[in-house]
Amino acid sequence: MNKTSNKFRHLVWPLVSLALLLLFNAIFTDNFFKIEIKKQDTVKEAVQLPSVPDELTVPAEEAAAQAEAAVEAPAEQTPAAQAPAEQQTPAKEDKGVSIFGYYLYGTPIDILNQGSKVMVLAIGMTLVIATGGIDISVGAVMAIAGAIAALLISLLDAGNCPGASMGPAFYWIIPVIAALALATLAGFWNGMLVAGFGIQPMVATLVLMVAGRGVAQLITDGQIITFDNPGLVFLCNGHALFLPFSVWIVVSMYVVAGLLTRKTALGLFIESVGNNERASRYAGIEARRIKWLTYVICGFCAGVAGLLAASNIKCADSNNAGLYLELDAILATVIGGTSMAGGRFFLSGSLVGAILIQTLTTTMYMKNVSPAIVAVPKAMVVIIVCLLQSPVFRAKVLSIFASKAAKGGVQ
């Protein structure tokens, strides 16, 4: 390893895994890397997975070459090249969900769009884990955020809520703000238990994890509330600047989080609290406040993820929204090299981890693996990545090699 890679060493294993997965797809999945430019009017369901032929008759090398060509193609293609597509009849459901009318369309884009929830969650989770904590309530908070947003939008649609006079084009901002506020409040609650009362993080967030879905069910009265407000649907189904809007949400949140943690002292404070809380308190850092803040941020991120999840399926399902996503977020964070013990964190690593998890999931779907069974290979990948990152495992493997080398030396 050379010196320059030192800064990005935590990214090596996740990136290698991701690269292997992409290579697998390049060889065995047709059209995996095919990205098209689509005009908004012609495509009805932007989030749907592109259909993949079941049989793989194309020889491996050829498929890889095709895939490579497909990646390069969109760059050269002008929108005019897509002219035939315009001749198709426009879809009935025109939601006006695209800025500039064109967007990229393909599996990699879909991975980014579907992975946006975990990526957003991973930001908050990374910061919480960096302080030596954990937040297992994010899935439940997502359900709460989605529930309140759906409830408010249904009230607004019926005109039963102040602000309905703004019209559907604008009043969707009310549920968004309400959902984010409520999720932030949930984060504040978690922070209060952990930092304020000194309860172990896992236990403190367990409370909201158990009770949160109950709260969400109470908000929606046990119903699944559907909505079709264009503004709210746009969040996870719309496109801007050629990419899904959710990707821009993720990017902007990462930029903000990155600037906050790496260009101000906040990141250093978080790491110092995670390393040694007492020492950092003696050094004059408001350790409790820093911890509290990370839970609030995590709650906010869960709120954004909850909105994305609700927007994606155009409804709030309190039972299933964000189910097990807290686990995905923790996995993404751990895969990205952030230590569960706290004290160091890598936002970029968490991003790669989230993309890795989503790529794995999407690959399974494209291989016609039942969604329920996807969990099996996912679990194996998790264990393998954790083992690779475990210092004990590395030491043991190294010692095996070392003893072999020693034996070789003797002979």
């Binding site: 158990v210 099996v376 679990a379 264990i383």
Partner: protein
């Protein structure tokens, strides 16, 4: 006259028992027939699988770890048994195989946790995904167990008739027997005491010469066995298997253990407490069913609040006992 005082370590479990009787009394005063013995027995019958799972969870939590794979193992074993029985396999063999798989799976988790010092939370999380997926590989749909001689025998003949309409079913007897064994094991055996020592301070336990690795792996193995047995009980209870069953049950088990007065950091608590934790959870559910008007989701919220209350109480007790030990 000597003042009667409960020793500090019995406070949480006393509080749990108090909560149980308080909720029970509320039920009796609010509804007719709530106090009938049948309701009380059904409490055991409906929650026997949760109780058995909670025994394993309690032991794991006592070592300072956590087992999140409980619900998935229950779902997997129940669907495996249902599938094997429905394809004409001997039910006894199916049950035995399910138990062996549970034991091996628990052992594997314990081995990964101990040998590579991976966080228990992560390993059992991956285990949860893995075994849940395996359940779906066995079958994606619910399979009923019909007309199986072994299951009929367990259901009909292995019951103690206490009176008119009152039957002590086999699964309830099984739960109580297992609970007694677990209590004796944790309190009266060397291995049981080692579990407490490790949960209290792993480093100190290592230095004292306690076989930490062996004990930890053993605990996760027991937890795997308990989960698999809970799956068997669940299959007997429902006479069916479904890979979708028991999603999130591990959290109920953890909640029951916490409400039962066990400290989640390990080392403090009693397996016996999990019985009352489970009964309190069951009582709240029964109360809400009896009422019929309240949204059943209040169960989750009340359980969450109860967990919170017990955590607060334990924090307080820990602080008091710490300040006491300092003053000495």
């Amino acid at each position: 006259m000597k003042k009667f005082r409960i020793p500090m370590r019995y406070v949480p479990i006393s509080a749990t028992i108090l909560v149980f009787f308080a909720v029970y009394l509320i039920g009796i005063f609010s509804f007719d027939n709530f106090g009938s013995p049948k309701v009380f027995l059904d409490l055991f019958l409906d929650n026997a699988y949760l109780g058995i799972a909670a025994i394993g969870t309690a032991l794991v939590i006592l070592t300072g770890g956590i087992d999140l794979s409980v619900g998935s193992i229950i779902a997997f074993t129940s669907i495996l048994i249902a599938k094997m029985v429905s394809t004409g396999c001997n039910a006894v063999f199916a049950i035995a195989l399910a138990l062996v798989i549970g034991i091996l799976f628990g052992m594997l988790q314990g081995w990964l946790i101990h040998c590579f010092s991976l966080p228990p939370f992560l390993v059992t999380l991956a285990g949860m995904f893995f075994i849940r997926g395996c359940g779906f590989i066995v079958s994606e749909e619910s399979i009923p167990i019909q007309n199986d001689p072994v299951f009929n025998f367990i259901q009909n003949d292995l019951t103690i008739k206490l009176g008119k309409g009152l039957n002590l079913r086999f699964i309830v007897i099984l739960y109580i027997v297992l609970l007694i064994i677990a209590i004796i094991f944790s309190q009266r055996t060397r291995a049981g005491r080692s579990i407490y020592a490790i949960g209290d301070n792993e480093l100190a336990a290592t230095l004292m010469g306690i076989p930490v690795g062996r004990t930890k792996i053993m605990t996760y193995t027991i937890a795997g066995f308990c989960s698999a047995l809970a799956g068997v009980v669940y299959a007997i209870y429902l006479k069916a298997g479904n890979p979708l069953n028991c999603v999130g049950l591990e959290m109920d088990a953890v909640a029951a253990v916490v409400i039962g007065g066990t400290l989640l950091t390990g080392g403090v608590g009693y397996v016996f407490g999990s019985l009352f934790g489970v009964l309190v959870l069951g009582l709240i559910q029964t109360l809400i069913i009896f009422d019929g008007r309240i949204n059943s989701w209040w169960t989750r919220i009340i359980v969450g609040l109860l967990v919170l209350a017990f955590i607060f109480m334990q924090n307080l007790i820990t602080k008091i006992s710490k300040s006491k030990s300092k003053s000495h």
